[in-house]
Structures are given as structure tokens and as C-alpha cells.
């Protein structure tokens, strides 16, 4: 399984601000390696964020999202100690789930 994400979730007023860093090569399928062979496309296709079982963000990504993707968004609600969970699935079917405690 892939390496863990870095998730920061902080209360800002009546909302929760979430910032995520994901570990992923996000290969476009355009690049050639040192031997001249095309490196196959390998990228996160779906990202889902939930809080208290509620989906707070759903995303579909293509390989044009940068390597080691960064994502930031905000949703109403959330209190210190509650959890935000992020799941990503890539085009190989690999998956990664991580959780953060709202601070």
C-alpha cells in the first residue's frame, strides 16, 4: 500500500479547513525514462473526503494533477477531536485511506 498522506484539519470560525499532501508519482504516461521507454500512466483518479460519515468532497483527477498532490478545501461544521477521513484510488486500483483529528 502507498505511503501515508499528511492531513491537517483545523477549526476556522464555524468551519473546518482541510489541507492534504498525498504521496503519489502521478505519472502522465507522456514521460520517457532514461532508456527511452514511455513510463506508463499512473495517477490518482478519485479522492473522497468524509467527516462524521458525511462526504465533504469528491474529486475526479487526471494525470495533470501534480506529483505529490496538494489539496485544500473548507466545509461548515467540525469540532476539535472529530475525524476527517480522506481516501484516494488510483488507476491501478491501489487505494489509500488516512484520517486526521480536527485541531
Amino acid at each position: 500500500m502507498a505511503d501515508p498522506m499528511k492531513i491537517r484539519a483545523n477549526v476556522v470560525g464555524d468551519s473546518t479547513e482541510v489541507k492534504v499532501l498525498m504521496n503519489h508519482e502521478m505519472e502522465t504516461g507522456q514521460r520517457k525514462d532514461a532508456q527511452g521507454k514511455t513510463v506508463p500512466a499512473w495517477f490518482i483518479q478519485n479522492v473522497t473526503a468524509t467527516w462524521n460519515g458525511k462526504t465533504v468532497l469528491n474529486a475526479q483527477w487526471g494525470p495533470a494533477v501534480s506529483k505529490n498532490p496538494f489539496l485544500a478545501f473548507k466545509f461548515k461544521g467540525g469540532a476539535k477531536g472529530e475525524k476527517v477521513q480522506i481516501v484516494w484510488v488510483d488507476n491501478r486500483g491501489d487505494k489509500r485511506t488516512d484520517e486526521a483529528t480536527i485541531a
Binding site: 474529486a59 475526479q60 495533470a64 478545501f73 491501478r92 491501489d94
Partner: protein, 159 residues
């Protein structure tokens, strides 16, 4: 997650884990991830705004001043990482998509905004060359668009 659990999950592998979890009935029928994750392949292979709109099943978007690029510089030192932030003040915003006109495939990302989530997202995208970047917003079933030119000093697709 402690090291032992990570080891177990690692050996389990991505796809088989999903199968196990689905078989255990932990994923609800409507869960996109259980169904192999909905991914609009056609939309990610388009080369024009028109083609993209077709893939989304929508009509031509209207220009809107209520879509703002936030913390998005005019020049990127390296096209491999271009910070793009989009904020929509159009009521009932349901989704925000980011497109790069001159990329091999225009659509970079699309974000579904459930009720309660701010219609604003920040991420980083690759740009192969200097190009217009479009922020496409779907609100109350209708499409809107704003654009910004971003100059790139070194292409970010092929290295």
C-alpha cells in the same frame, strides 16, 4: 496506524483489499468506490472546452465574473507544479473543474461540492506550456466559466 497494521495492509494489496471489504458488506451499494470508482474517462480525454462540455453532458458555459482564481500566480517557475485555487460565489455551486487549454488533455481535475462545503478548492496542476487555465463551475444545473493566462517558464509534462 501502527507499523504492524501497515505491514498487513501492504501485503493485502490494493485491489484485493477492496474486494475483501466489499465482500464483507462494509461498502454500501451506492458507494462510488465499491463500484470501482466512477471516473469520467471521456472527460479526461478532451482537447477543447466544447468536447469537455459534451463529456459532462452540459451546454456551453457562460462567462462569469463570480469565479475567482485565488492564490494563483501569473507565472510559474516550473510547469510541473502550478498552484491553482478557484473560488465560486455563484449560488448552488455543485462542482468546480480546472482545465488547461494547451495541455495534451484539457481536464486536470473536477471537484464535486456537497452542500455545506465551501465552493472553493486549491490544488496544484501540471502545465506543459504557457496557456489559458479555465475554471468551470456547475451551479444549479448550469455551467459557468472564467479564465486566466498562466505563463510557464519550463514545461511540466515531459520533464
Amino acid at each position: 496506524m501502527d507499523a504492524r497494521r501497515r505491514e498487513v495492509l501492504k501485503t493485502g494489496g490494493g485491489v484485493s483489499l477492496l474486494a475483501l471489504v466489499a465482500a464483507a458488506g462494509w461498502l454500501k451499494p451506492g458507494d462510488a468506490l465499491a463500484q470501482g470508482a466512477a471516473w469520467n474517462k471521456a472527460a479526461f480525454e478532451t482537447h477543447s472546452l466544447d468536447e469537455t462540455m459534451k463529456a459532462f453532458g452540459g451546454s456551453a458555459p457562460a462567462q462569469s465574473k463570480d469565479i475567482a482564481f485565488v492564490s494563483t500566480p501569473d507565472i510559474a517557475e516550473n510547469g510541473a507544479v502550478v498552484p491553482v485555487g478557484v473560488s465560486s460565489s455563484i449560488p448552488k455551486t455543485e462542482s468546480i473543474a480546472i482545465l488547461v487549454e494547451k495541455n495534451p488533455n484539457m481536464l486536470a481535475a473536477v471537484f464535486d461540492i456537497p452542500a455545506g462545503t465551501d465552493p472553493a478548492v486549491s490544488t496544484r496542476i501540471k502545465m506543459g506550456q504557457s496557456s489559458n487555465v479555465y475554471a468551470l463551475v456547475k451551479a444549479d444545473g448550469k455551467y459557468y466559466v472564467a479564465s486566466k493566462e498562466i505563463k510557464v517558464t519550463l514545461g511540466g509534462c515531459g520533464g
